[in-house]
Symmetry: C2
Subunit: 256 residues, 2 copies
């Protein structure tokens, strides 16, 4: 046994080496537990503890039915938050079809099939959103909650919140994609002059993991964009949950 390592750590160390060296490539099956038990002469739970270390590092996923596999991620979707806001201002209108919103059309341009499940409701927003929108303690918000799929795989949760008085009675209250030149806010006569993005990184909640079908040890970025009008009044707050294994966030900025 290696110096200063438990037996489980030794198993993890050996497997990690094989993975990092490419000897075990992404998608390959790990040796079975019984194989490793006889190879090392360790008990089953010890072998399992070793493999669990790699699962917690995100290097190994456990196939539903049987077998454990070296984790293999699809190339991440690049999410350009800089151009997302401005792209629609320059876009030519799409004729003869429902173009969907900015996200959906960006995905379509890439040759993939976007889909969103949208539910609209009037809610007491979560504390963080309430702060962003500068709502009073009893202020209500219109929430548009979406689950975004690409090629029928879940990719992100995107919940938009609007101060109720700004949007009641507008198309924003309908649970459908909203496509409009200038973006969803422009469609109800609001102009966004500034935005503020906040990104934090954490493990998903149980619910988020379930909705997004996340493998073990998949962290998420919580991206909150608050949009303001020219007077600095908050118009919208969008909270997006981006799984780390399928997203890359991009900003492009010209230094003035």
């Amino acid at each position: 046994m290696r110096r200063g390592m438990t037996k489980a750590q030794e198993v993890a160390y050996d497997l990690r080496e094989q993975i990092e060296s490419g000897q075990l490539a992404g998608g390959d099956a790990l040796p079975s537990e019984s194989k490793m038990m006889s190879q090392y002469g360790y008990s089953r739970e010890t072998i399992r503890a070793g493999v669990r270390l790699l699962i917690d590092e995100g290097l190994v996923v456990t196939g539903q039915g049987q077998g454990k596999y070296v984790r293999e991620d699809y190339p991440p979707v690049v999410w350009n938050w800089t151009t997302l806001e401005s792209r629609s201002r320059h876009a030519t209108a799409v004729e003869g079809q429902t173009a969907g919103d900015q996200w959906a059309s960006a995905i379509e341009e890439n040759g993939n099939a976007p889909r969103q499940e949208i539910t609209v409701s009037i809610v007491e927003p979560p504390a963080h959103v309430r702060e962003c929108l500068e709502l009073p303690a009893d202020g209500l918000a219109v929430a548009r909650k979406r689950i975004r799929y690409i090629d029928n795989r879940p990719y992100a949760l995107a919940d938009s919140y609007f101060p109720q008085e700004l949007v009641s009675g507008t198309p924003l209250m309908e649970p459908r994609d909203v496509s409009a030149p200038g973006g969803i806010l422009a469609s109800v006569g609001l102009v966004q002059a500034k935005y503020r993005d906040e990104i934090s990184v954490r493990m998903p909640t149980r619910q988020e993991a379930e909705l997004l079908a996340l493998p073990a040890a998949t962290p998420i970025a919580e991206h909150t964009r608050t949009g303001y009008d020219a007077d600095g009044r908050p118009l919208r707050c969008m909270v997006t949950i981006l799984p780390g294994d399928r997203h890359k966030i991009l900003y492009e900025v010209d230094t003035d």
Copy 2:
């Protein structure tokens, strides 16, 4: 036993409820394993498996010496990437003391004690950095690797890479803080006209976890900023590893 739950999940469910309801607050100790064994009548490994589910969710940390505790995070350091680049242009010079770099002075303004360990070396950069700097396959880079501490707790890893020919023989090659109006690039006569930020989210490598003293289930953001001159030539690539439990990333953008 609850329907559709294993015993371990039941234990996790109960504890999670107590944590989310505030009945168990941040920093509180969980009941001991033996207490829960007699409370539930389950074996020790089963109880431990239940608690492990919460550890993997990032809700529970296992105290160094003994005891398990509800996770309690310090308020995150807000990292404003928009102003970090421009702040130094407007900053008044600090007289009579070594001001450190932009990061250090931002932390000091907040009343905390920054510290960095810097090592400078000439390296073959990692593939991702090579791409960002548009270096040929055998191109070398000057690497400034820093470990950043606040009040003697590690906060981030920040590795900057410069194309070798741009900086050889400049103060950038010395392993010291570089403080200059206009930023570190200006100090060697380079002007950054544009930058491009890439953020991805993942679990830390073993090494990162060790350098940053990360608790279990602490994901990180890998932030890569590439700076370009007015002709679009890459000047610098900075890779920052930001632990999710102590950072929040901020961007503030005026829609043009």
